[in-house]
Symmetry: C2
Subunit: 471 residues, 2 copies
Amino acid sequence: MIFRRFLSSSTLPPSIRQLLSTHTPSDPTAPVRVNGWVRSVRRQKRVAFAHITDGSSHQGLQAVFTNVDLAKGLTNGASVSLSGTLLESPGAGQDKELVVQAVDVIGECEPLEYPIQKQTLTTEYLRDHCHLRARTSSVAAMLRLRDNTMRTLHEYFQAQDFCYTNTPILTSNDCEGAGETFHVSHPDQTASTSSNAVTTSPREFFGRPAYLTVSSQLHLEALATSLARVYTISPCFRAERSQTSRHLSEFWMLEAEWAFTHVVDDVCQFVEGMVKHALRQDSNDLSVLSRDIGEHRQRSLEKAKGGDTWMRLTYTDAISELEKAQATTRQFEFTPSWGKALRSEHERWIAEHLADGPVFVTDYPASLKPFYMRLNSDGKTVACFDLLVPHLGELVGGSLREERLGLLEEALEKQQLSKADYGWYLDIRKYGGAPHGGFGLGFERLVSWMSGIDNVRECIPMPRWAGRMLL
Amino acid sequence: MIFRRFLSSSTLPPSIRQLLSTHTPSDPTAPVRVNGWVRSVRRQKRVAFAHITDGSSHQGLQAVFTNVDLAKGLTNGASVSLSGTLLESPGAGQDKELVVQAVDVIGECEPLEYPIQKQTLTTEYLRDHCHLRARTSSVAAMLRLRDNTMRTLHEYFQAQDFCYTNTPILTSNDCEGAGETFHVSHPDQTASTSSNAVTTSPREFFGRPAYLTVSSQLHLEALATSLARVYTISPCFRAERSQTSRHLSEFWMLEAEWAFTHVVDDVCQFVEGMVKHALRQDSNDLSVLSRDIGEHRQRSLEKAKGGDTWMRLTYTDAISELEKAQATTRQFEFTPSWGKALRSEHERWIAEHLADGPVFVTDYPASLKPFYMRLNSDGKTVACFDLLVPHLGELVGGSLREERLGLLEEALEKQQLSKADYGWYLDIRKYGGAPHGGFGLGFERLVSWMSGIDNVRECIPMPRWAGRMLL
């Protein structure tokens, strides 16, 4: 019997990005090996070029074949292993290039059959080829941008000593999502179901109905009463039937809660710092993606990440501005009026015309908001905000949470929610409760806004919406 | 109308941990303010002490009341805001302490009613008080350990240029999980359901049945054929009915896939490097939690994180060792035999007696493993591994994936899976496929193993298992 033992200094060979950013060999003619996919081939009489990518950067690598025969078997999409010498490139567009000595085609790709052809493919076509669309340079750039943005957000929270936590996805709480909550069952149970068994069956896998979470907030609040500062980046689910460019049935939400915060402006300030930190990230992919969004939107994003504090105004002031605008121009389909929800057209007008940038609208009427938001001293508005941004609308929503037990119980009653269901949530206030607040940010919306990618369906690897779930 | 504008240099005041690790004021008598919860109070005649925590560290802060009247209103669990001076502590156990000048009890906590009493509470009791158990020092330490471990793992992947991605939670693929897959529906649809409508109803929200993911692997493979190196830390779901200390219905799995890897030992080497990196993390919480696990297990963990490469042996060799042991001692309930699955008792014997440490068992019979594992040249085993560790069993499972289209189609047939269902998965091989491999690690199992916390139910904030889903 042989016990095989190997060195444990685990590392993979450098990626193309690493190779290009760090390669300074003592012997510049030393051979290097590069693995990747052919993005394009250009053949001339005495020389051929191939653009090779391994997904580690937008740039990829230029491979040069002075022996054109070596490039013979190369087709777009094929996976290859190349060896050669990495030299200064005389051409424009790259600092270094690989002068190829040997080629190994690892995985062929039949040029006529390959679904990812070089010409521009429509968004709809790529959605239909969800399993291959990451091979386009724009979807690959979006995926790296997601990664880098998450990293940037983690940095921001870590610097302020937040604890990253994982709140449950399966929950017994379906109240917040109302009609938009997915129900989870186990086949054993659905097989024998009768039409009303779903909510009452003793065969529920967990002994009670289970739903997919619509928000981590309530659970985060429980943890914030121990760890003081917590956040999560978690999948959330809404059985939303509207087909907009801002909604997905499965999306990722960044949510944070922290204790010992007393005014909603402090929460706004934290959010503004966080979003600016994300906007300011060092990302070549972000630059590439936002290159084509037009000068106006580019200027708007530049302005947003600058030093100026974003505008804050109350819902009451916002309504009064909307009413003024409506009186003179009659531009809104829905008449703005105190006590009514802001419509999409109102939100965009506030962000794009009134503020000309991101804007926190604060202190909405209690009747428009969930029960857990903290009542202001006027007795009719709550200490909350929506962050509205140009071209998108709501990016973040947050508030102080009602920490006063009596007022929270009243709010439950007003919204006809059962005190028994929320017993645990009341306990958080009962035993050493503290003023606290937090917010939720739709991660795909952030990616969409900062990159100019039009639809959140293109801001997540494999999107799900009503009627559509590939793979 | 007032547009309120504030400075946007967003930061929260320092946490207790930050205060203790960085506080070097020019004026040591300058007052500081600390928010947190009272963990305990000790009253003497002329002085009182309180242990204050804000969850930012295990240590917390010692508050000293030279005016004992100030400590009057303090009870365990109450939230407080203290101001005073941070001075060198004359006592043992802490470098600095807060000499309190003013106390504000923010949230009272009735001592007799508070469910988190100072005496030791049973694990079962704390599970029943899931919403409050993070207030115990051990659960708080576990939560910080999760955070720090994730950070450590991200570091390892980032250094090797992996892209963090989010694969879908809702999937149309229920094959891998067989009977252990949860079904997802929308109330509109279940309300009108008949017993066989679940799989055929045109009213499925997504137009086809939706399941909760049991593994991100197949989706990661699609992304790895573009980005080359991808990973995710994602919730996974198994409708597992067995009540063991290693299983949850909802758990977090770290999964990675990368292209251009050719031998399973390279995957093992990567995994070993990663787990050692996690074991070697700088974490006071890890030290605190693993303090009580006994000398034997402590030595075992110390050895595991050392420089020696972990043992690798083939399934075939493992069976032969098990057979030898069985022949002499008859210690196993289940007779080991080539072609049969390793039982829990076998796995533990291999890790605890044969290897006396973590051990990779490789190259299992193809018949014991899923269809996607790469067939070895012997035609009967596959290029896979299970990482077994003492006291736990399987921590990681991985393999090379079958990249040869013909062999993959044969494997699908052999396991009676539909080629149509896996069309997209076959495409990945068809168009520029590359040899690739990957693995999955149960995150709660890692936390359990490294900390010595017995049950994975105590390694996640709000655990779910058959019959149990609080909050």
